[in-house]
Symmetry: C2
Subunit: 248 residues, 2 copies
């Protein structure tokens, strides 16, 4: 049995998220179907981040175990020929048998794109919150987040994760062509955390001291103090980090 | 009878172009249906540019004549409530009865977006030609185009337009977030002209003197000397210019 690692990009607009669900079009189900067609065996694919419906990925990482004599590099073109055009495999490699895309990951990078104005061409990959917010104010709201924090205030209500401590390596706002973009890297993320951070930054951006407001919300550990959850379409899993991937 | 002017934005991915065709989903048909639902009368809508299937618009202009007591500004929200999410009205005004979106236009601005690398999230609004081309070489290829020229070499084969002279006010390549973008303004455009210009620029970009190659193709007036037609998804009608629009 060999272990394979795939790097995947997908437009999540027409998927009910990553995770397989009966009767729904999901990325996991679509990828598992393609692998079954190619390797003639049903496998279970694990992903580094289980993206929600409408969320995207440019650098999702998935792993699976299968018996096969196919060279790992050949999986990429062979799977792409089977997959629909809204999912692409950008890399396929063989890895050590201990590798698991989810458990082995040491950090993840997400982006969230805001629009300065409504744009029908970008409505699937970015969100227009109804007003244009100054980048500088968003940056000030986010500045206290870099570091090691208990992020319970940003965890979706009803979520069961008990470890709410996250080490946030980067939380920066910058410009993209059509608005502002959050670029955030952390060792792990709580459920809806990025979307809750974006909703909170927007909610406190016009305060006299957005950074102080963010510090208070973080310290409260209270989801009700934070802002609403930003909608899914602005979110993209850009990259997943691993300590070292040794090819078998 | 009053004359109305609409500014429209649409994602052309799921339309068979602007022009109405029986049994096909077209932008014109969709807009005329929405107007019929709102004003209870069937009108014929004229557009400044009849975009092809898969091409987009941020600033298409359309006009129509109808009897109605509705304030022109109210048309925008009322139509948007009826229209699908891939077509939006960004402005609605009343204009002089002589106004016709197509005939009255004095110039149009189009963009064409190239990708530096394949990107599943942008595949509907930009084109990856399989290689990344240096912006500087594209700019040199395009530089001879600004001015008044016979553009017959860039007109689709079989097209019947007899006036092939175009005054190109601007033909510039610049960067966008994910690649290079052509920004072109002219008094009028021949059928497939922008897509043929892009295909030609790519075809001659690696010549020792791309500008000289473009001059020779232009002078030949021969479609066979120019490059292939770039695919539709990179093209967007950004803006239409009028000499003056007097509100009634």
């Amino acid at each position: 049995v060999r272990t394979f690692k795939l790097v995947l990009a997908y437009d999540g607009s027409d998927f009910h998220g990553w995770q397989i669900q009966p009767g729904q079009r999901t990325v996991q189900g679509t990828v598992e179907d393609a692998i079954e067609a190619v390797l003639d065996t049903r496998v279970r694919v694990n992903a580094a981040g289980r993206t929600d419906a409408g969320c995207h990925a440019r650098g999702q990482v998935a792993s699976f175990r299968a018996e096969s004599t196919l060279p790992a590099a050949a999986l990429r073109p062979v799977l792409n020929a089977r997959l629909p055009e809204d999912v692409r495999v950008s890399e396929s490699t063989e890895v050590d048998e201990g590798f698991d895309a989810r458990r082995s990951a040491t950090a993840r990078r997400y982006s969230y794109r805001l629009l300065d104005r409504d744009d029908v061409l970008l409505r699937r990959i970015a969100w227009y919150p109804g007003v244009s917010i100054e980048l500088d104010r968003l940056a000030r709201a986010m500045q206290p987040l870099e570091g090691d924090h208990d992020c319970a205030a940003f965890q979706a209500t009803g979520s069961s994760k008990t470890v709410t401590r996250c080490c946030i390596h980067r939380a920066q706002w910058r410009r993209w062509d059509s608005g502002s973009m959050l670029d955030v890297v952390a060792n792990h993320f709580l459920y809806h955390m990025v979307r809750n951070l974006v909703g909170t930054a927007l909610a406190i951006a016009d305060r006299s001291d957005p950074a102080a407001a963010m510090v208070a919300i973080l310290a409260s550990r209270d989801r009700r103090r934070a802002g609403p959850t930003a909608p899914p379409q602005g979110l993209c899993l850009e990259q997943v980090f691993y300590p070292e991937v040794v090819r078998a």
